[in-house]
């Protein structure tokens, strides 16, 4: 049975401490009531339900948790946090796990990360996001040329999506580019994946 948890293995205490420090959440109080999973709208696309992720974190199962698809499919809607009887901000724990997984180059759902980078690339260039630019970059990155092609006739007819980016005037775009540059340089200095 692939999905059983082997309690014989020593738990990764450093992992538990790290998640606790970065998320600021005391998840040891989770008693597996399942409210988070019951309310999660994305659960159908998860490989492990959110209460299982929480249990995995408590048990220090670094690989099982950080390699999970679920942390990438979480929509950040915060329903789990809202309904937790022990006030654990579960959505923040999920986000923390996503950050940790990214830093370790573990990306279980690359499409989602490619989309984020495509969006952020337009912000880096123009200071403001640009829908058509995001989609074009995403198609290049993911090699999914037909993404949302069915929307094109309507979107074009209604001029819903501008063909030109809306850049910040007066050098503002360059200031935003510098934010991204410093962010990348710092990540490099600190030896983490930006």
């Amino acid at each position: 049975m692939k999905d059983t948890i082997d309690l014989g293995k020593k738990r990764d205490d450093a992992f538990i401490t790290e998640v606790e420090a970065h998320s600021g959440q005391k998840f040891s109080t989770c008693y597996q009531c399942g409210n988070c999973t019951a309310g999660c709208p994305a659960g159908f696309a998860y490989d492990r339900q959110v209460n299982q992720i929480m249990r995995g974190v408590q048990l220090g199962l670094r690989d099982k948790v950080l390699n999970s698809r679920s942390i990438w499919m979480c929509l950040s809607c915060s329903t789990c946090s809202l309904r937790c009887p022990n006030n654990i901000d579960v959505a923040t724990v999920m986000e923390t796990l996503r950050h940790m997984a990214r830093k370790e180059k573990r990306v279980a759902v690359p499409k989602v990360e490619k989309f984020w980078f495509s969006f952020l690339d337009t912000v880096r260039a123009f200071g403001r996001s640009w829908e058509i630019g995001t989609m074009a970059l995403y198609m290049l990155r993911s090699l999914r040329v037909f993404t949302d092609l069915d929307l094109a006739p309507e979107a074009l007819k209604k001029q819903k999506l501008p063909f030109k980016p809306h850049s910040i005037p007066d050098g503002g775009a360059a200031a935003v580019t510098r934010i991204f540059k410093r962010y990348r340089e710092r990540a490099k200095r600190e030896g983490v994946r930006p």
Partner: protein
């Protein structure tokens, strides 16, 4: 009265109609929205999903510009911008975090940022239901509307300060003040699938279909939204949602400012109704028919 305003990027792109109708309705209520200068993207979900400090830096630049302009209160229409700006302001209260974020910016940011609030709350603070009622020129009484806030506007409650995080009611109050019948819509804060429409279409299609199906079953004439991404998922992607649920939908999805503008007697042009994929002609017809029936019965009463 002037209000400092952060439009957000969607206002310049996919939600130009939200922007247009917001300006028009606020103008009628004597709320003059003035853009803060040189504003940049808040980073939206991609920035905070990738890195909290990067997200905060993008937001802090805007908050700092507003602070330098002496702004006390900043309004924004988009719930995602609102959420990011409010999260950043909260996190920046931690000096260590503030210092890390400042390292990414051209200059150290202000120690105190202006409060950021939604245009919807700004409207409610600016005037009461009676004042809104005084502007009503078209009776919306014939319409049943499903108010839909999406997941970001009211959550997390301690950051967003938008009333009950699963049962906010401000939109109902505004629509009610315009004379519309407002449905008790149980999915009003459920997630529409957010930005997963591009990388994981099935996620957005499935979650949006649930919302569209319930509104259809409840015989709503329209879903009323406050978020550019919700609007895009429910309207532009309505066919994708229908295909995923093996259903057929024909549900107009309007911004709350568009329906308020209709009540105020503004034209479709003033409100950018031409941008809607599922048109609002049916709604206008229903309003007009109800009005002429009323005129008819009033004349009948006289005779």
């Amino acid at each position: 009265m002037n209000y400092a305003y952060y439009p957000g990027c969607s206002a310049k792109g996919s939600s130009a109609d939200y922007e247009k109708s917001t300006q028009a309705v606020c103008g009628m209520l004597d709320m003059n929205l003035v853009d803060i200068r040189d504003w940049n993207c808040c980073g939206s979900t991609p920035a905070h999903a990738v890195n909290t400090e990067l997200s905060a830096a993008l937001c802090a630049r805007n908050l700092d510009i507003a602070a330098q302009q002496g702004v006390q209160k900043l309004l924004t229409s988009c719930p995602s911008c609102l959420s990011n700006l409010r999260h950043a302001a909260k996190r920046m209260e931690d000096p260590a975090f503030h210092a890390r974020v400042d390292e990414l910016l051209d200059n150290p940011t202000a120690l105190k940022f202006p409060a950021v609030t939604s245009v919807m709350q700004g409207m409610a603070a600016h005037c009461d239901a009676d004042e809104i009622g005084r502007h009503v020129r078209r009776n919306l009484g014939a319409l049943s509307l499903a108010p839909y806030y999406g997941c970001l506007m009211s959550r997390p409650a301690e950051i967003m300060d938008f009333g009950d995080p699963e049962n906010p009611t401000l939109m109902e109050s505004l629509l009610g003040a315009c004379g519309a019948k407002v449905l008790e819509f149980p999915l009003k804060t459920s997630c529409c699938g957010a930005s997963y429409g591009i990388p994981e279409r099935e996620m957005t299609a499935r979650l949006s279909a649930r919302i569209l199906q319930l509104a259809t079953d409840m015989e709503a004439d329209a879903i009323i939204v406050a978020c550019p991404l919700c609007q895009m998922n429910l309207d532009l992607r309505q066919k994708q949602a229908a295909n995923s649920a093996d259903a057929r939908f024909n549900m107009p999805v309007l911004y709350f400012t568009q329906i308020m503008g209709l009540a105020f007697g503004l034209s479709g042009d003033d409100l950018g109704l031409d941008k809607l994929r599922v048109g609002a002609d049916g709604l206008l017809l229903k309003i007009e028919q109800a009005a002429s029936a009323q005129r008819g019965s009033a004349e009948g009463g006289k005779a």
